[in-house]
C-alpha cells in the first residue's frame, strides 16, 4: 500500500493510513486511504460537525422555510451565510437565522418551553411562511429535550403550519457527513409522500444533491425546462419544502452530489421504485453526457442534443482561450466531498491543468475511490487533513493554485498560493457551459493576478526592483503562448454578463403539453 507519511504527523502514526500516493500501476485495490472515521486525537481537523452537515449544507438551502436551531445562538450563527446558496425568492433562507438561544439555566431546567415559545414567535414574525425545519444541537440533545413532541404540539395548535424535525446533534457522526446522512433519512421518513403534486409534463424528475451555489441549480433547471422536463423538486438548493414532500411522484432521480444525497435516492428507489441516475453538471463533456442520458431516458434525446450543440458552439471558444493559458498549471484539488471527483478529470481534460493532490475533509472511501480513479498518476490523496499536513503538502508540491474552502484557503494565501473557494465559488455559477467558462476565468484571474505576483516579494529581505514595468494579466499569461494562439480569431475571453441569472429567471419556455403517462412508469 503506497501510504504517505507526513513529516509533521510522525507523532500521530495513525494518520499514515489516511494519505496515499497514486503510483504507476496502482489501482483502487492497492491505493485507497481510510475515510469517514473519527478524527484522531491530536490532529486538528478542519471538519464541520453533524449538525452543520444537516442544517447548513442540506436543510437551509430550502428557500421557503424558517430554519430554527434548538441550542445556543453560536450554533446557528456559525452556520449562517457562509455558503452562497441563493434562491429566487429574494434569498429568504439566507437573510435570517433563528435560534432558541439556550443558556445554562435551560441545561439545568430544560428548554422545551423555550422552544415552543420560539417556534410560535418565529411563525408570527413571518406570517407568510408556514414551514419550519427544526434542528437538534449538542446541548439540547444532551439534556434530552423532546423536540418532536414540541413540534407536534405546535402543529396541533397551528394546523396551517408544518414542521420538520432533524435530530442530528453535532456529535452525531465523525463529520458533517453524518449530518447529511441523518437529514436524508429523516426527510424521507417524515415528509416524502405527504403531498400530491400537480404533474405538468410527461417527463418528471427530482434534481437531487444540488444546492444552487451562486445559481448552479437555476442554470441546470434552465436546460431541463428547455427539454420540456418538469423538475418536481430540487434537493435542496432553491428547493421548496412542499415540492420536496412530493418527491415520490418523479419518474427519475437525477443525482448530482452523491456524497450528500445518495441516501435519499437509494431509499426512493427501494420504497417507490424510482431509478437513480448519477450525473456530472461540471465540464462540457460530462454535462453533455448527462443531458443526453436524461434525454435518452425519456426518449427526447434530440432536445438534449440541440442544447448541447447550441451551448457548445457559444462557449467552447471561450473555454479554449483559458485552456491555452492554463496548460500545465499545478492544482491541489481540496474541496469537501463530491467536487474532488466531479472536477478531478475534467479540469485536466478541458482546462489543461495537472491535479497534483486531492483531499477531502469529510468524504467517505467511496469519494476517494472516484477521485483517485479520475486523477492522474502521482497525485497525493489525503483524507481529513490537518492544517500542518496541508502546509507540508503545499510546500512539497508547490501548486500554482488550490481549490478549497475558506479556512485552508486563507492558510494558502499566507504561503503565497492563490486559492479559489470550491464551496461557495468566486464568480459563479460554475455549473453549465457558461459556468464552466466562468470557473476557468476565475482560475486564470487567480493565477495571473499581477497583485498576486507581488506577494512573492518579501519586503523584509528581498531587493525591491525599481526598474520593472507595470504588468498585466495578459503579459503574464501570454509569455509561453504561441503566436498562433495569441492571434487566433476563434478563441476569445469570456464575453458573458456579470449577472447571468436574471436572464434565466425572466425566460419563457416552449410549451410541451402533457400527453400521456409514461408507459414505462
Amino acid at each position: 500500500m503506497p501510504y504517505h507519511e507526513f513529516e509533521c504527523s510522525k507523532c500521530i502514526p495513525e494518520r499514515k493510513k489516511h494519505a496515499v500516493i497514486k503510483g504507476p500501476g496502482e489501482d483502487l485495490t492497492s491505493a485507497l486511504p481510510l475515510g469517514y472515521l473519527n478524527t484522531i486525537p491530536g490532529s486538528i481537523s478542519e471538519r464541520g460537525c453533524a449538525y452543520c452537515g444537516a442544517k447548513h449544507v442540506i436543510g437551509t438551502p430550502m428557500k421557503d422555510v424558517i430554519h430554527m436551531s434548538h441550542g445556543p445562538v453560536g450554533c446557528t450563527y456559525d452556520t449562517w451565510q457562509t455558503k452562497r446558496y441563493i434562491s429566487d425568492n429574494d434569498n429568504f433562507q439566507l437573510k435570517y437565522t433563528y435560534a432558541t438561544d439556550m443558556k445554562e439555566k435551560h441545561v439545568i431546567f430544560g428548554a422545551e418551553k423555550l422552544l415552543k415559545q420560539n417556534i410560535i414567535e418565529a411563525f408570527k414574525a413571518f406570517p407568510n411562511i408556514k414551514r419550519m425545519t427544526l434542528y437538534q444541537t449538542c446541548a439540547s440533545a444532551l439534556i434530552g429535550d423532546d423536540i418532536n413532541a414540541i413540534a407536534q404540539e405546535v402543529m396541533d395548535e397551528m394546523p396551517e403550519v408544518d414542521i420538520f424535525v432533524c435530530n442530528s446533534p453535532g456529535f452525531g457522526g465523525p463529520s458533517q457527513s453524518g449530518g447529511h446522512h441523518k437529514i436524508n433519512i429523516a426527510w424521507i421518513n417524515q415528509k416524502v409522500g405527504n403531498v400530491e403534486p400537480k404533474i405538468t409534463s410527461d417527463y418528471v424528475i427530482n434534481y437531487v444533491g444540488e444546492y444552487n451555489i451562486q445559481g448552479d441549480q437555476e442554470v441546470m433547471i434552465d436546460y431541463f425546462k428547455r427539454m420540456g422536463i418538469q423538475v418536481l423538486s430540487t434537493f435542496t438548493g432553491n428547493g421548496s419544502y412542499d415540492d420536496l414532500r412530493a418527491m415520490h411522484r418523479a419518474h427519475l432521480n437525477v443525482l448530482e452530489c452523491a456524497r450528500s444525497a445518495e441516501y435519499i435516492c437509494n431509499e426512493l428507489r427501494v420504497r417507490y421504485g424510482t431509478p437513480r441516475l448519477d450525473i456530472d453538471g461540471f465540464g462540457f463533456g460530462p454535462l453533455s453526457d448527462s443531458l443526453r442520458k436524461v434525454g435518452l431516458f425519456f426518449g427526447i434525446e434530440d432536445r438534449a442534443q440541440a442544447i448541447i450543440d447550441e451551448e457548445t458552439a457559444r462557449w467552447k471558444p471561450e473555454l479554449d482561450w483559458y485552456k491555452e493559458r492554463l496548460q500545465g498549471k499545478k492544482v491541489c484539488l481540496w474541496p469537501g466531498g463530491s467536487k474532488l471527483w466531479h472536477w478531478a478529470h475534467v479540469i485536466h481534460d478541458e482546462m489543461g491543468v495537472e491535479v497534483v493532490s486531492v483531499y477531502t475533509k469529510f468524504g467517505h472511501q467511496g469519494d476517494m475511490e472516484k477521485g483517485i480513479s479520475r486523477c492522474e498518476e502521482g497525485a497525493l490523496a489525503i483524507d481529513d487533513p490537518n492544517e500542518l499536513e496541508g502546509i507540508e503538502a503545499m510546500e512539497t508540491l508547490k501548486p500554482d493554485i488550490i481549490f478549497t474552502g475558506k479556512r485552508p484557503g486563507e492558510v494558502a494565501k499566507k504561503l503565497r498560493v492563490p486559492y479559489l473557494n470550491a464551496h461557495a465559488y468566486h464568480n459563479g455559477p460554475w455549473k453549465g457551459y457558461e459556468g464552466w467558462v466562468r470557473f476557468a476565468r476565475d482560475i486564470y484571474n487567480a493565477i495571473y493576478s499581477p497583485i498576486h505576483q507581488l506577494a512573492f516579494v518579501d519586503i523584509s529581505k528581498d531587493e525591491i526592483a525599481t526598474d520593472t514595468k507595470f504588468v498585466t494579466q495578459k503579459i503574464l499569461s501570454d509569455g509561453n503562448v504561441s503566436e498562433e494562439v495569441k492571434s487566433s480569431n476563434e478563441l476569445r475571453e469570456y464575453t458573458g454578463k456579470y449577472d447571468n441569472l436574471t436572464t434565466i429567471r425572466e425566460k419563457t419556455y416552449p410549451e410541451y403539453p402533457l400527453q400521456k403517462k409514461l408507459s414505462v412508469v
Binding site: 489501482d27 483502487l28 485495490t29 485507497l32 481510510l34 469517514y36 433519512i185 419518474h251 427519475l252 452523491a258 445518495e262 441516501y263 437509494n266 431509499e267 427501494v270 421504485g273 424510482t274 431509478p275 437513480r276 441516475l277 448519477d278 450525473i279 456530472d280 460530462p286 453526457d289 443526453r292 442520458k293 435518452l296 431516458f297 471527483w341 478529470h345 467517505h364 472511501q365 467511496g366 475511490e369 472516484k370 480513479s373 479520475r374 409514461l518 414505462v520 412508469v521
Partner: protein
C-alpha cells in the same frame, strides 16, 4: 485481450460514476446490468428497457457503448464472440476493482 480490457476499465473509472454506488450489492447489480446491456448493444442484440429501472441501466449502457466504439477502433475488428468474451472479462475486472478487491470498508454496511 488483457490490454484491451484495461483500456475499457480506464475509460469507465475516469468517465463514469455508475460503478461507484455505495454498497456491494448495488455495485454488483450496476456492473451486471449496465455491462450486460452494453454488450448487447455492441453485439446488436435486443436490450430490455421496458421498466424505469431497466431504462436507467440502458441509458448508461448506450453512452458507454458509443464511447467504446468511438474511442477504440480495434473494437470494430472483433466479432461478436470476441466482444462477449471481452465484456465478460471487463465485468470480472470491474467486480474485482469495485467489489471483491475493494478496500472500501463501507460496502457491506447493511443500511443506506
Amino acid at each position: 485481450m488483457k490490454d484491451k480490457v484495461e483500456q475499457l476499465v480506464d475509460y469507465i473509472m475516469k468517465k463514469c460514476l455508475w460503478q461507484f454506488h455505495s454498497r456491494s450489492w448495488d455495485r454488483e447489480r450496476q456492473n451486471k446490468e449496465i455491462l450486460t446491456k452494453t454488450m448487447q448493444i455492441l453485439c446488436d442484440e435486443p436490450v430490455e428497457k421496458e421498466t424505469p429501472t431497466d431504462k436507467c441501466y440502458w441509458v448508461d449502457a448506450v453512452c458507454l457503448a458509443d464511447a467504446f466504439k468511438s474511442r477504440y477502433a480495434w473494437l470494430a475488428a472483433m466479432d461478436k464472440v470476441e466482444i462477449k468474451l471481452l465484456m465478460q472479462k471487463l465485468k470480472d475486472r470491474m467486480d474485482y476493482l469495485t467489489v471483491t478487491g475493494s478496500l472500501n470498508e463501507e460496502l457491506n454496511d447493511p443500511h443506506y
